[in-house]
Symmetry: C2
Subunit: 198 residues, 2 copies
């Protein structure tokens, strides 16, 4: 959870509904608003010349997203789309800055949040760079469970398609599928009726 909703509304924030696949901002847009998810989820991604996508992050209930460029007056390095129907609160950059000035504890939370994001990015870069597909996929799955605070000892269903896993790991669908089959044989994951469990 980020900023208190009442506080946000007091400062003039508005909630907006986005349908699945609606774009919230485009890569290279100037960052002008603070966004916080009330309901639903948002995916930040890049796509390269050949249309291949790479998912930089997924955010849901209560999370804010796309804040870093706000603080440094930059354009967005990724595109944000709603990955489900979502309700998202929008507040202008100027007002967010005023809130931060008025509430030092919020400023500190943001600092911690940014620190956490850097930490996570450092770790995930470490995993992705120069590692084998199985390693990348395993990191992705572990990370998913950690983020959702699921018990690590018990298997749970992974709510992502093979293509989505490919976009997260920078691999191709077929590679993900083949790697997952091997991991299944080696009992590192289980697959039941094409559904993936880890």
């Amino acid at each position: 959870m980020q900023i208190d909703l009442d506080l946000l509304f007091t400062w003039g924030a508005v909630a907006k509904k986005y349908m699945k696949n609606d774009v919230i901002f485009y890569e290279d847009d100037m960052a002008l608003f603070y966004y916080q998810i009330v309901e639903g989820s948002v995916r930040l991604y890049n796509s390269n010349d050949e249309g291949k996508e790479f998912t930089q992050g997924v955010f849901c209930n209560g999370n804010s997203f796309g804040e870093p460029p706000l603080f440094i007056n930059e354009i967005y390095p990724t595109t944000a789309i709603a990955s489900q129907d979502s309700i998202i609160i929008k507040l202008s950059k100027e007002k967010l800055m005023k809130i931060l000035e008025d509430y030092p504890s919020i400023k500190l939370s943001f600092l911690e949040l940014m620190a956490k994001r850097i930490y996570d990015k450092t770790v995930s870069t470490k995993q992705i760079i120069n590692q084998k597909p199985e390693h990348r996929i395993k990191s992705f799955l572990e990370n998913y469970k950690k983020q959702n605070q699921l018990c690590c000892t018990e298997k749970s269903a992974i709510p992502y398609t093979r293509q989505e896993i490919a976009d997260f790991t920078g691999l191709r669908v077929e590679t993900v599928i083949r790697t997952l089959s091997e991991m299944n044989k080696a009992k590192k994951v289980s697959i039941d009726k094409h559904k993936l469990y880890f």
Copy 2:
């Protein structure tokens, strides 16, 4: 430049000398200190099982490094070594936090710094993932010039060995060399007596 030196010393910071290749902290160490470079430079990197290294960042004069884990009570995701003989200021985490409380403007600078780092990491992940060697190297070179505020229209010497470029880009030395030769032929870089200009 980060925190004022006088202020740091007032709060009990100490300056320490590190020789080239001295380790400042190891991956998985608990983060207990704030580090700020007075002179020299520091490289943060990971190495995988086969000893291949990936450089996550290089910091020099006046920069601080390794802060994110401090704010979230985490272990270091990278190892830090002095890439030249360096003088580095060290301050305990607790005292840093006190400084942040006392000086809201410093807290804000940190927030901006963290935001900048995330932004840079997002951009560099975008470049590295699923891109051709030439693309990765070009991004690295452009990034180097930008960071050092060098004129982008004029060629300047790149102070990195082929191996260092490989560690930054996650490629192998030989691949870097072959790609650079091609880029040289295509006049995208110039090479004179093995020295690289961009």
